[in-house]
């Protein structure tokens, strides 16, 4: 499966030439072909880097949604050992859009929870395209409490177009499930590291995204609503999603500038989908480092620091009250 995004085309054309030369060189390794392939490799790397340095917000959305981008299960398998997937909320059912369970990262037990969108059509349907139902959030809630009970740091991976908006979701209390997770994560007595790996939209992402550290992969997005949903609110037309992506400030660099996230994790040149195993290795070492640091903080302080961190977020000003006459008390 090969997917070339529109704006990747100039690099893809070089890649096609390079592949042809590599094939010729393999059959007939002349110094001329060798020089050509070295040039083409350099051109390809430079062009890809140039494209990825200048991604527009809407292009970033395309990269964040790239079908070959590593997803939660890829990280669960590639970044962890001993992962045991837990199923079900013990009340209603098992939601496939959220996966989770205990695992080890660099030998250290953690609780991993993330949204998983799936790749093939059948899997995507089974997983509701990564839009969790309330039972998914309640499974996550169960895992958060297990993590606290057994003193395991929580690692969450966000990758969702948003919480599922169906009648059944309403009947089973989608809003209630999301709110319960926010409250529980806000006071959980173990370190919580949250990472947006793809698309992190709305309360559906935030409900597994409250923690001590909030990280974003370089080309992931984090937004109050999907660009399409915001466009249908602001322009009354989802076709304006690219314009909405511009206005929403949903890219990692924009959000870091606004002090709304803690850190950006670099992706391989050409995006995580260009080299999934390198991406997975980077995330593993980053998360392991964050956990080691958080584990040195005493629990009481960890929890109060987390409260303060969220308490400070917001942007408002206080109008000066009307001036009092001089000498008044």
């Amino acid at each position: 499966m090969s997917v070339v995004l529109d704006f990747e085309r100039p690099a893809a054309e070089i890649r096609t030439k390079l592949d042809a030369i590599e094939k010729q060189y393999a059959a007939n390794p002349t110094p001329e072909l060798d020089a050509q392939r070295i040039d083409l490799r350099r051109d390809f790397a430079n062009r890809t880097q140039a494209i990825y340095r200048a991604l527009s917000p809407w292009q970033t959305v395309q990269v964040a949604r790239h079908p070959l981008r590593p997803q939660t299960m890829d990280y669960a398998i590639g970044m962890c050992t001993d992962f045991v997937e837990f199923h079900g909320d013990r009340v209603f059912g098992d939601d496939r859009a959220i996966v989770g369970g205990p695992a080890r990262i660099d030998g250290r037990p953690v609780m991993l929870v993330g949204q998983h969108r799936g790749r093939e059509t059948r899997e995507r349907v089974e997983r509701n395209f990564g839009s969790p139902h309330p039972e998914g959030y309640r499974k996550a809630h169960r895992l958060f409490e297990l993590a606290e009970k057994f003193g395991m740091p929580v690692v969450t991976l966000m990758d969702t177009p948003g919480a599922s908006p169906g009648l059944g979701d309403e009947e089973r209390g989608q809003g209630w499930a999301l709110a319960a997770n926010l409250a529980t994560l806000a006071t959980l007595r173990v370190p919580v590291v949250c990472v947006v790996i793809g698309e992190g939209n709305s309360g559906g992402a935030l409900a597994i995204g409250v923690g001590d550290r909030f990280l974003m992969l370089e080309h992931s997005i984090f937004s109050v609503a999907s660009p399409e949903a915001a466009a249908s609110i602001v322009w009354k037309d989802a076709k304006f999603a690219p314009q909405a992506a511009d206005a929403l400030k949903l890219t990692a660099p924009d959000l870091l500038r606004l002090n709304l996230i803690d850190r950006i994790i670099s992706e391989p040149v050409g995006g995580a989908h260009a080299d999934p195993s390198a991406m997975i290795a980077t995330l593993r070492s980053t998360v392991a480092g964050e956990i080691s640091r958080l584990e040195t903080i005493p629990t009481e302080r960890l929890v109060s620091d987390r409260y303060e961190k969220y308490r400070r977020l917001g942007s408002w000003f206080e109008m000066a009250p009307p001036a009092k006459p001089a000498g008044s008390v």
Binding site: A163, P165, G166, L167, D169, E170, E171, R172, G173, Q174, G175, W176, L178, A179, A180, L182, A183, L185, A186, T187, S202, G203, L206, A207, V210, F222, S223, V224, A225, A229, A230, S232, I233, V234, W235, F240, Q243, A244, D246, A247, L248, K249, L250, L255, L258, L260, R306, Y307, Y310, R311, L313, G314, S315, W316, F317, E318, M319, A320, P321
Partner: protein, 310 residues
Amino acid sequence: MRNLFRRALPKVAGDAGQEAVPDLWVRCGRCREMLYAREWAEASKVCPKCGFHARLTISDRVALLLDANSWQELDPDLRPTDPLGFAPAGRPSYAEKLATESLDSGQSEAAAYGRGTLDGLPVSLAILDMGYFAGTLGSVVGEKIARAFELGIAERRAVIVVSASGGARQQEGVVALIQMAKTAAAVQALGAARLPFISILTDPTLGGVTASFATLGDCIIAEPGAVIGFAGPRIIEQTTGEKLPPGAQTAEFQLRHGMVDQVVARRDQKAIIARLIRLFSHATQPAQDPTASASTPHGEPRVVATAGVQ
């Protein structure tokens, strides 16, 4: 159901859900009955014929819930900024919308909070108002809600929040989204101080408000007929293609599905809240000698008041 709310000119009574008719009459937003305006207002804008609960302003809510002259609004001067520089191509910018919204509504934001007494009980009360930016949760609303909970903790007051909101304020982007986490954390802090939080859901309570503080109440009370849910009806129909059955996402629907504790008409809300605060407060008081507690009739406001800074 949504198109019950039609704006009419001239705006006399001025409340959404009521079509103003010149002079002394208002027309019920549901049954269309002509109602004598003063009687209707005295009934807290509930239609005597069909029981329709029209939307209330912040001062209506204060009059409904608090003891006369006890309301003391705090931090009324918090104003929104434009953290993203939200300027959607070809549409009014957030800065422009903020300016016109304040002029149209005469309000400075979509929530107010403060202290007051309810049947003599000291409470911290926050009220959201659909009249400004559809009651949306942005930085100022989030900050006021958080402060309402902190006021409760600092002065040992029960906290009451009356919600009415279209959800998170899109124009503040992630800044608005994070107010959901901030307010949920504030609810937890109140809980850790063992003080009660009574959440009142009114028409409409949707999106990021439903998915944060509003559904975290120790008791959740919904107003009759209020639309309450996570995704709005329009989003559900657009996304799933399914038409919602009549009565979906009403207060009564949420009661049936176990999501709210009671659906309570306006006229009964104050008494129920007072009873709840007294019941919850009893459990959080230090043990007292039985003669002292026997000499105090049940339902006296002694409990919350002991540690309160009035």
